[in-house]
Symmetry: D2
Subunit: 344 residues, 4 copies
């Protein structure tokens, strides 16, 4: 942390700030110029977390220069992590594809979808049994019934199951049926939920919050890991901006940023990221080229009859086309070794 004193700060002000810093066991260095005095603080940032230096006399403002997360950081764990989910490795050589309908709507719809997903080559079936919806009057999901259909689809196809958990109470139930728990964008800072999925131990797919910074997202992973669960996979799904043509603005650069800042895998959801099925293929290919460890995509046997998010769902034909492209591109990138990250 660097503390910038205001021009009219007195020596007394500076001494008081330094005293507070030393009081929590940190070291302070003063730099004085003709017009400016700044105080550098070196050491464990967490010790400073509870000191409101900005409120002290003579302080203009302070600037944070170190990270507030540790377990999720690449400094702490320089080697990229591979997360094993029921035998499927996320973060390894192959991109992992999670596909399926936005919501589980009926047994028939899900079984039909599962067969299509399996045939196209994805490893995971996605589908919401608990749906967080803006309006209380929108379809809220089939809940446990939906979980049972997901488990049945796994039996039939061998696909692994990833599905969202929205409340602490539902964790046990969802964990009993799913291979991987999804934390949705609206719950990325539902810290109670993060701690409990941390305790539960199941692998977690952590979607980025609607307007979450990378730092907040990494800290959300830290909440889960700090409870003893190291199996976290990030999912970029677009952020909220002023642009209204797309449902969200897919932050493709988050792939490269997370790869640099963290050892955890990251996948991309071009369906929610754009909200338009036409944009799924180009963004899926782009994500793979950017180095993403996989994709999450919405596919519906009949998008025009979907109970939610139909306009961003791929038809079975488009899904097959996208999968074929991803597989070819991914093989090409691996063969050409195009994705080795550049480090000094």
């Amino acid at each position: 942390m660097v503390i910038i004193m205001s021009p009219e700060a007195t020596q007394q002000n500076i001494s008081e700030v330094v005293e507070v810093i030393k009081g929590v066991g940190l070291d302070a260095k003063i730099m004085e110029g003709a017009q400016q005095k700044i105080i550098g603080v070196i050491g464990d940032k967490t010790k400073m977390a509870s000191i409101p230096v900005d409120a002290m006399q003579g302080v203009d403002h302070s600037v944070s220069i170190s990270k507030s997360y540790k377990l999720a950081s690449r400094e702490f764990h320089p080697q990229s992590s591979i997360i094993n989910v029921s035998g499927i490795e996320i973060g390894g050589d192959e991109p992992i594809i999670m596909a399926g309908p936005c919501a589980v709507e009926s047994r028939e719809q899900l079984m039909e979808a599962a067969e299509i997903i399996k045939a196209g080559g994805a490893q995971f079936l996605r589908g919401g049994a608990y749906k967080p919806r803006t309006s209380p009057y929108s379809f809220q999901g089939l809940e446990e019934e939906g979980l049972k259909y997901l488990a049945e689809a796994r039996e039939k196809t061998g696909l692994k199951i990833v599905t969202e958990v929205t409340t602490v109470e539902a964790i046990e139930k969802v964990a009993a049926y799913a291979d991987m728990l999804q934390i949705g964008a609206r719950n990325m800072q539902n810290f109670g939920l993060l701690k409990e999925v941390g305790k539960c131990g199941k692998p977690v797919l952590l979607k980025r919050g609607l307007a979450a910074t990378l730092d907040e997202w990494l800290n959300a992973a830290e909440y889960i890991m700090n409870e003893g669960n190291p199996n976290v996979v990030f999912c970029e799904r677009g952020i909220r901006t002023y642009e209204t043509y797309t449902r969200n603005t897919l932050d493709m650069s988050a792939v490269a940023a997370i790869k640099h800042l963290s050892h955890l895998p990251i996948i991309v959801d071009p369906s929610h990221g754009t909200g338009k099925w036409r944009m799924v293929k180009p963004m899926a290919l782009a994500a793979i080229a950017a180095g993403a460890d996989g994709l999450m995509m919405e596919v519906h046997p009949n998008p025009a009859k979907a109970l939610s998010d139909g306009s961003q769902s791929l038809t079975p034909e488009h899904y097959r086309d996208v999968m074929s492209g991803i597989q070819k591109l991914s093989k090409f990138l691996k063969d050409e070794k195009l994705l080795s990250f550049v480090e000094d």
Copy 2:
């Protein structure tokens, strides 16, 4: 809802869309121009919520033109609501002030703060016992111990208590001590929590989400009200934008917007809204002049020793100065009848 067909849409496409609309019991009107065909849908929007028209053949896009909330809307309840919290009326003639430290830190700190708050003329004591924090390593609150201190401060001063509840499990405990439950910005779309505070029946202070639209905020209130709890008060606390000088961008116009769209009261939190104690007074006065029903402000006996948000906390002296200004301004606005909202 208005459905805009793409230029190459066929008559067959149009017929299919119309059929789907009629299938859910709504009426469709077709408007055809030389280059453009649009279909208007009239009736209860909730019936359309589950139909993905955007995914149908020939549809370019659709535009929603009605609201997805009802109980919270002024159309449904044209008269402004007054919410009674343990005898204090929010939304009535007097602005209601909620003040206190960001977090309950110790018995001494809270009692000292409560005496200051009471003396300055506020009606509510605020203070977090459960703190949602970005990093798992930051101070997380005293939990039930903090609630007990809040109740003790009420005993001594007569101030009402408003405090945040962050998990479903904690609702019962918080409700046993507090007069009003606060839903924080990070939980504004924690729908499980919203439903449970709806069932619990205690008055709710609903903070706006970090990047929530007005529509999403009103729908969050609808979740609470739909469970039978009509006692919701909005709190504007700044939204996330690209500007970094302030902690958030205080959306003052939300006061006028909510007054127009809803019958529920709205208060403003200039402390979180700006993140700088210097800006609290001008923004507090502005909020009252804009027609806000009250304010929430952070006050700390000694901001420079606060365990969280010290840089945005008022000192006791500044608090007294702000309160004096608010009281004079509020009386003036009432005497001059300057705040009658303009309706055609």
Copy 3:
């Protein structure tokens, strides 16, 4: 500036950075901790502007801690400036009101508007002769003809004229007719235009860019002042955010921020800031309560026939009502001395 070295930076890397800093005549101080090394740079920031330290070996990132503007800053000029525009003082005791139609549409419309504006008590007539419009097919303004009508309206009413200049070529012409030149939001970083209005010497109303930070805005003023023209007045007109209910998000806190950072006056435009005439009155009152030095508002003799921005224009009746409120509120605030800014 503070330079944060990456954990694996060598002593050699640090020496090279220090050498570059000293090479431009600045002083560098090294702070070393167990895991972190940072280098503080003290002195005139402008000397560092051209050194890309972030690209040097071993540098993780750098953080700017001082301002890049000087003439516009309160440090440079601690006393608040009063800008005199043809005898009207902006930044003095009285709030200055600029009102009128968005665009000059015809001689009749403008004369009618001018009489209404004058009668209501404003000091300036606004009206665009050159209109920057998103689409090339929208009404672009009457150009010089419009300027002549503005000058004629000044003759008749004594109102001062403020009108937008959008190109360097038009400056001379606009300056010949207007008392004050307006730089619109879309041109806030049209540096060629800023320099030329700086040279021209006429007082300038500098609107905030659509997504401009406070720092960029202050630097835009610096461009004008650096050419020898100290007569700059800021105008907050809303910034672009994700919220679509309002045309822009009016950043009311910019009033308090600019008052703290700069000695120049600031006014607020609630018409563009909200895009809705119903919200103009509450936001106008709020701006005055926040300490704004004036307001710019759209008023049209017949908003429903306006050629641009009719939906945000006040009718003559509403204008009179708003003016009456502003005058009373302003007198009250002055009498009660409620607006003295809090400085330590």
Copy 4:
């Protein structure tokens, strides 16, 4: 356009709105439901541009449903356009690469850069002679001297020249030396400049504004095309969001969106889009995979000595590595026909 009447609108209100619509030669259709009345307007949107229906009695709000640009739209010109710049085809089979330093700093620097750029395989040399800078005290470019060096570098290497023009006065000079004129982000809505580069006829590289919507960007192209210059190429360079880790948020989905909405080519600038050289390679590959027609990248012989934007510039080694990746990927995508855009 669809006009939504407020619930209390009278028949008289509706008639007046319909009359105004018919008055400009358009057709209006009324749809009435139990609680809602809406009026559909069919026909040329430009006729409605000047009617402020939102300000009419009884109107709640209106929603625009058609585009305000025409020449730039794919409806108008269904076939993708290829823009020929001095013999180089942008929008054809090969991705076109524009590379070079942010600013022309000296003859030596530019000649060295040009040789590197040429050897790596790019077709265009970029380099700013006129630099728009936030602070008036930052390096502003070598101006005409810089243009001469650019022309000299073209002589030596055969590279085409693209460079920014920031003022109307400089157009003639820049056009005399450059093959393609760049309109920078800060000038995307400098309509005077757009019209003049439209008249000048030289091919234009139109960067997206800092916070420009796709619609505004397309309309900016329309300004240029409407003056008779059809040779416009879009350049996505990141938009402004709340995220501060990257300099901007690169909106990769804009590639797919522009391809759908317009017939004009689009390239991507990952250097400005991210602000970090480490992220250039993954984002460059992603852009090509997304279907971009080319790239603009900053390359500097010695980034650590660059006078601007050094931290986002590639070294010669990294540039060669990125170019090699792009060429292989591009060939692969063409051979596999992976980029055919999905249309119904």
